[in-house]
Structure formats: structure tokens, C-alpha cells
Symmetry: C2
Subunit: 599 residues, 2 copies
Amino acid sequence: MSDLADALRVSLDGPWGEVRETARRQIEPGRFGPPEVDLPIEEYRARVHDQLLDLASLGFAGLGLSTDQDRTDQGASVTAFEMIGHGDLSLFVKAGVQWGLFGGAVAALGTAAHHERYLEAIASADLLGCFAMTETGHGSDVQSLRTTITHDPDGDALVVHTPDESARKDYIGNAARHGRMAAVFGQLLTADGTNHGVHCVLVPVRDESGAAMPGVTIGDCGSKAGLPGVDNGRFTFDQVRVPRENLLDRYGSIDADGTYSSPIDSDGKRFFTMLGTLVRGRITVGAAAGSATRNALTLATIYGLRRRQFAGPDGQDVVLLDYLVHQRKLLPAIARSYALMYAQNDLTRTMHEVMRAGDAAEEGARRRLETRAAALKVASTSHASTTIQMCREACGGAGYLSFNRLGKLRADTDVFTTFEGDNTVLLQLVGKSLLTSYASQFEDMNVVETVGTVVRQAGAALLERTISGSLVQRLLTGAPGRDADDALEDRGGQLALFTDREEHVLETLAGRLRRVDRTDPRRAWETFDAAAPHVLEAAQAHIDRILLEAFAAAVDACPPGRPGTCWDSSPTCSPARRWRRTGRGTSNTDACRPSRPSG
Amino acid sequence: MSDLADALRVSLDGPWGEVRETARRQIEPGRFGPPEVDLPIEEYRARVHDQLLDLASLGFAGLGLSTDQDRTDQGASVTAFEMIGHGDLSLFVKAGVQWGLFGGAVAALGTAAHHERYLEAIASADLLGCFAMTETGHGSDVQSLRTTITHDPDGDALVVHTPDESARKDYIGNAARHGRMAAVFGQLLTADGTNHGVHCVLVPVRDESGAAMPGVTIGDCGSKAGLPGVDNGRFTFDQVRVPRENLLDRYGSIDADGTYSSPIDSDGKRFFTMLGTLVRGRITVGAAAGSATRNALTLATIYGLRRRQFAGPDGQDVVLLDYLVHQRKLLPAIARSYALMYAQNDLTRTMHEVMRAGDAAEEGARRRLETRAAALKVASTSHASTTIQMCREACGGAGYLSFNRLGKLRADTDVFTTFEGDNTVLLQLVGKSLLTSYASQFEDMNVVETVGTVVRQAGAALLERTISGSLVQRLLTGAPGRDADDALEDRGGQLALFTDREEHVLETLAGRLRRVDRTDPRRAWETFDAAAPHVLEAAQAHIDRILLEAFAAAVDACPPGRPGTCWDSSPTCSPARRWRRTGRGTSNTDACRPSRPSG
């Protein structure tokens, strides 16, 4: 057993397995976990603040924020965040705000002077900061933020201002108590009144004593449905002046005489490029959602293996996990968690490579990374919500007691589905991105009616693969025909079916949207709106396919199973038989433990 | 508009509409609502305790607990509880424990002496009590409780005892702080060692000063994922002696010389009869889940009508509810809430009639009531969980703030899916009950293979209807053929399809189970276990059909719509067109407000 378990852990741990091992070795239980009793909100916030400093003292943030390219390891950084997701999620979010979002904005949107001046203090948590993007009136639609950042040549300053209540910065982590500086997003205006679109400026919000800076009004979002240790708050700026050099000016700068310049001419492209550099936050949220889900599944599985209810044929109460309906609750969720972990590891590696390439990364690679990040953020966080909920219910009344953590895991992860990108909005982004790459394949084709046929003939090659074409090809070649009964039981057959589905949904969607009369904006809007559920379906089909691919690639990379183990579907193992017969269930449940070799 | 809204309210309010109106008139906002700020657990418990006394002072409990048959109005009582479900759910649960469960046990399982001695004090909340059924080791399987209630002829007492930790009473509401007496369920043993099965005995657990009675150890379940105002706790009994007359002896009594007698010979039948009398609690939980869900939907709908995001074709930000994907989140949930409310009203009326008939109620009516109560408890509470969650997400970050209540509604209702009957266990109960009534129709048939054919020919008559056969018949007769395209758009066609589905699932399930070799207990158990997902599917098909029937009957009972209103599908109304074209969406969204008459 133990070398099988080890092999499984190594497989699941992925490319930054040693980061996980270090976290497991170094961190004593409880140090970064949630409190054992309910704490009043201010005590909770103080506790998490102290945990953040403790984490900083371990050098936690250096990997992701170093100015030294050789010390930087973005994959390790995201993996370390993922491990914090096994602890108190308030700490995860607070650390994510400080290092991922605030630090990430300075690193990605700032230039050398900002890096030299701030990154070390941010990494050490000497400078605590906020990421002030969302406003009361605009969350998903960042491009329409209403905060203004106006250059005033008189004194060469930037004036940050909140024109009305809907432009107030809202839900901002680290704002209510601890943040001393904020990375504030707003419309950058030059003195001639020209709006250069959304940019980000560093604004001191508290002085050394913790008092609000002049012109800055700080509010407190108060109690939330979860994450009690995160001090979310609000900022209102009343003509707050900061030096011009506080503008994070990698993608747009203003010189001393007030002239704006940018390496990217198009306002739209600049905006999406800037947002794109912040993709790490979204990836990290998906990763931590995975950690929390695995915590919940571990708790519910242990409970399911110990709890007994209703007498079985031998008069003994039956173990919950020996009931098929209980297996059907937990085991598909465990399988999906495995698939998500493989896909997430792959995403982390891709992000690492794209970030390491820096400006040299090709645009297609960046775009694919963003689509993949959005897709997996949706998949991981919605899986977290439904699975942790299922785990709570699978533990009955015991699952409702705070002592058993499931309620807290559920409440803390709840907002993951709507922050760092609302899942519905992200699914639309994924769907549109699939359409765009699809359209680019066919943009020179005029005969709309033939597209469907061509796509079907071209087959899988049209879809962006997460795994190597040769592996896909090998699996597909070995697969039974997709109409054969046993296609459902064969990995290649499954891939073929998932690919067919995604292609079909995409081609019907593309056909539907091509008929839009784009000269009539209202009708075009209505047609797109009517097709939105179809777009979501395409995105979901895409997510399902890339999860299956990630799982298939990981299984392919595993060493072959040993004869006689459950993994090899021993003919005497009843769950394995059920699996072969129905394509459901699992061949590796606790129920078959007696037939496993003891080695 | 206003008379349309009035007509809708009258229709939804159901048979005890005047109870709802009284609640709306009498209860000022805030009096029975949740606190506006987070409270420490003990303050919260004290607050809800005081609200309970306040509620008692209004005579709230008299309708359900009176010894006077003429004053009793069970339908009004359940409806009043449902209205409390619009307030703080901690109060709803605490009141449910006190009056529904504890009071209900005394009323249903006790006899005249108990009623005279206790009911008034319970109704007035002078005697606060607990319902001590669940044990640490047994929740769903009540028949296997391990607490013992042993008659000791020496002193003519009953000795209540907890043999080991798994027999400890657990999760008991009102136990940790306020309960002075508990209705304790356990195995009743006479001095000769005979076990007469589960009975209920009243045990004083605290003295006037609030101290635990001798031999009673009281524990505290502490913080939970929700319902912070309910003081759940634990009882361990160490040979606690109570007078023999404390046995609630309607279904089983012990006389002075220690002889047991019961009006029901069979232990199994007696047990299920006793449990069956407690059906009101389950019905009340479903009702309050409905109230909480409607609160959440109201909040999310108001938000969806006010919140705007992303510019539309006219440059203005678009109202969320004008997006089809947002409509598809909220509107089906609203429609299901309507259907559930109609079904729940119907259930309340049925319960009222069965309880009013008392011992005269025929057994089939009781059994149908229990099945219906289980089905709707599952439907309402699972709808509450998924819908309140959806509402939270549909409100984004605002939905996560405690101020906006959605997180609390979600957390407080969470346990509804697993208390008063775990939903998975209840679904199995529903499925088995459907099979039993099904089997009784065919028990004298030998040719198994012909059953399917016969059932299909016999058609709808085999299924238990919630609405009159004549209405169903009228709708079915007017319906297009069930294979016709427009069957989906016709109420009768929909009923036919739902009926077909339930019949099909039931007949295939029955066929599968008839092949079981009942002489081999292990194989029989395995076959039943393997069929359990099929049983759940049958129960779900049944739930869907009775919800549709309830909705159809309610629509049929409504006055006809006025020409020109949206309800009449004005041809210029775009949502109505979409509805007719797709069978989805709704003909009455806010989006069509401009085309409504102003009257």
C-alpha cells in the first residue's frame, strides 16, 4: 500500500511537489489554521494579521515578488499559496491580497523604480497594502470604473478622486484595518481632459499611526458570510494628491510636461493586457478552492468510513461508505478533485512558463493562459461550493458543528465563485475566447453552411489541447468507435465523445452568431444575449474536456499498476466489477480493502 | 396591477391566508427578526429565548397544542410557524423544538393526564422542553436507539440510562441552556428484560435554578454553521429515575404491577405509528424552508432589478435582470417556489384533516400524508439550499455581506436538508412507499413480465393524485398527444409526460426488485443497495409530478386573466414570445413591464 500511496501523492503533487513537501514538514498543525473557537471579528482580524506576519517571516512571498529573476519562481509561489489554502482561508485571502494582488500589481504594472522601492517591504509585510479595483457600482465591468486619476501639471501630481458613491472602492481586503497603501484603479486623465483608460496608482491610505490619510475616507464592510479574518472595507477619495511617479507605468506613463505615452496604442488592448498580467490571482483562487475541497472530502470520507447506520444482513450496522448512494455522493467528487488537481498543476506550470518568458511570451500563449485560468477558476470554485456542501450533508448533524470545520470551509469558500471574476462572467469570457479562436480559423471562409461539415472533418485538431497531440492521438487511435458500447469505458473513447460534444456546441453556436445582423446594435445585442446560455454551455463543454484530458495525461504518466492490486481491477473485487459493468462507481473504494495486498 | 397582485397573493396564501394576514399586520418589523449585528453565542441564545417568550405571550402555540379540540387548528399552527420562518430562523427552530417537537410529543404520544398537566405550561413557555430523540450513534435509524427506559417495580419507577457514549442524546435543541424537561426516546424494558421497542418518557433535566438534575449530564454542542440562537446540547443519563406516569403512554403503557400493554400488537407497526404522529415537525420544516427561500429570492430579485453592469446597445449599463442568463438563474427558482408553496398549502390542509380525524383517520390517508410530508420536506429544503446559494451568488459581493442577510439565510437553512429526516433517507422512504402502494396493486399477479404492459395501459389511475381526478382528466383530455411538439407547452401535455416518467421509473424499479432472491439476505441487501439510486430517481420523479399537479390545480383555481395583461401573452411582449417559442423563460418578467397596462 505505502508505495502505491506515495506514487499517487507524487503524481498529484505535480511539478512543485517539493514546495508541498516543505510546507508539510515545516508548518506545525495549528500555526496557520483557523481558530478553535469563535472569535469576535476584531480579534479574528488581529489573529490573521499576526499569521500574515508569521508567514512573511518564513520568506513566503519572496518567490513570487522578487526583483531578481533568478530567485523568482511563480509556480512555487502559487503552489505555496495553494498549501495555505489547507489552513485558514482568511489567511489565504489576506495573503492573496497583500502579495498576490497588491504586490502583484506593483510587480506587473510597475517599473523598476516601483520594484526597488516597494517589493521588499511588501514581501516582508512591512508595507501592508490593498488592491482597490472593485467599486460599489462596478465589479465585473472593470473598464467602466469611475474613480478618476487626473494629472495636475501644477505641482506635477496625480489627483485621485471618487466622483460619487457608486465610484467608491468597495469590498477591498486589508482596507478596514491594516492596509497602509492601496493600488487604486481608475480612469487616467491628462490635463487636456483626455481619458487614457483604466490605470493603477499607488495611494497611501493610512499614516504610520494607522489614521486615514487626508482626503481618504475609510469604511468597514463589517461582518460577512465567511472569511471573518479579512478586513474588507471601502475607500472614498476626495481630491487626494499623490506624486506622479506613484503611477504604475509599465503600460502607460505621463511625463513631467503632462504628456501621456504607452507601449500599446489601442486603449482596449492596453486594458486587457494590464488585466492579463494579474492572472496569477485568479489561478491562486482556483488552487486554494481545490485545497479546501480536498480538506472537506477528507473529513467526509473519514466520517463515511467510520459512521454506521441501519443494520445490514449480518445484523451489524452498515458503514456509510458501503451504501451505493453514499459512494455516489463522495466518489465522483473525489475523482473530479483529482482531475482538477492535475489540470491545476498543468495550469500552474503554463503560467510559470509564460511569466518567465515575460515580454517575450507570444500573445497566443498569454491568451490561452487567460482562458485556461478563467475556465479552471470556474471549475474549481464551483466544485468547491457544491462539494463542500455535499460533504457537510454527508456528515449530517456532525457536519453542522463548527468543531468539524465543514460549515466554515463552506462559508469561507462561498465568495470564491464570485470574486476574482464572477463565475458566470468568466464562463462567458471562456466561451467568447473559444469562439474567437474558432472564428480565426475560419475567418476567410464565406460559405457559412459548410463550416459545420468542415469542422467535423477536421476533428480534434481544431480544439486547443492541454496535452500533447501524440498522446491524444494514441488514445483516440486505440479507442473503440465512439458509437460502440464500450466507448464509455475507454479513455480514448471518452476523449472522443467529450471532443465531439465541445465541437458540436461550438459549431452550432458559431453558426447561430454568424447570422447576427451586426448593423443593428440592439438586435445584435439581443441575439448575443439570447445565445448567452449557449455560450455558457460551450464553456462548460470545454471545461469538461480539458479536465478529462488533464486526467488522461496524468494517468498516462503514472507507472503501470502492479498485478493483484485493486487498481488492476482484480476479478474478485465487487466495486471493480460494478465499475466495468456500469461505467460508474470506482474500483478503489474502501469496500474492497480486504482484497488488496497488504504490501 | 394591484388587483392582479392581490389575486396572486390570495392564491399563494392558501387556505390559512388569514393567519398570514394576521402575522403581517400584527408583527412589527424586527420583533422576531435576526439581530442587526453579530452577537456572541450566549447573547444570541438569550435573545432568541426572549423572542420565544414574546411569541408565547401572543398565544402563538395555543392553536397547535390545545387540549380543546374546538380550539385546535393544526393548519393554522403550521402556517403560523411558516410565517415565523420569514423572521430569525433560530427562533423558528427554537419554537419548533418547544412547541412542535416537545409539545407535539406530549400531545401526540401522551394521554389525558399528560395533556392536562403539561400542555398549557408548554404553550405558555413556562415549561421549556427538549425533544431528545437523536443519539450520537443513531440519527436516521431511530428504531436502533440505545438509551434504555427500564421499569423498576421496586418503587414503581422508570430508570432512564445511557449505556455508552454512542447512546448519548446529541444535537438536542434547547438542551444546552434553557430546557427544563426532555421528551426522551429509548428502548422500553420491563423488569423481566423484555424490550418493547422505542417509547418516549418525560425526564426533568434542570431544576428551577437551571442546574442539571441528579444523574443528568448536560453538554453543549457549541458553535454551529448556522442557527446560532439555538442552544443545541447533549444529555447523558446515569440511572435517572422518574415516576412511571412520565411515560407518554398513548401507544404503550406499563401498569402498576409492571405489565406492558399496547393498543398495537406489532412492535414495528407501533413504532411507525408513533413516529407518524410526529409528522407535523417535518411539514413545518418544509414550510419554513419555503419562507426563507422566498425571502432570499425577494432580495436577489430586487437586486437584479436595480443592479446594472456592462453597457448595452444604448450605452447605458444594462439591468441584470435584462440578461437572459440572469433570468435563467432567478425565474425558474421563483416558479418552483410558487409550485412548492401550492404543494405545501395542500399538504398543510391534508395534515389538518388527518389530525382532525384523529384515530378515525384511515390508515391509507396517514400513510399518504407521511409520504407526501417526506417528499415535500426534501423538495423544499433542497430547493432552499440551492436557491438561497444561487441568490447569494446572483448578488455578488453584496450578497456576501452579513448586512444583506443572504449568507445567514443560507447558513441557517443548511441543516434543514439533514435534520427532521436526512433528505437522502427520506427520498428512500418516499421511493419505498411508492413501491409498496405499487406492489399492493399487483400483489396477486404472477406473470411478472406482463406488469409493465398492464401498468402502461392502466395509465395515470395507478399513481396517487394530489388533485382531483376530474381536473387531471380534463387537462389530459385537452392535451395534445404526448409525442406532439406542443405537448411541452400544454399543461395537460406536461402532466402526461411527468406521469409517464414516474410510471416508467417505478415499473422498471419494481421489475428489478421482483427478481431479488429474498432467501439470501446478503444478496437481497446488495440488490436493494444497487437499486437505491433507482429508488431515489423514482422519488424524485414523484416529487416533480406532485409539484406540477399542485401548480396545475392552483392555476386552474385562479380567476381567468384579463385581456391585455402580460398573463395573457400579449403578442407584442418579447418574453412571452420567447416563452411560446422555447417553452423556457417566463411571460411575466420585469423586462416586459412597459407593455403592461397601468391599471
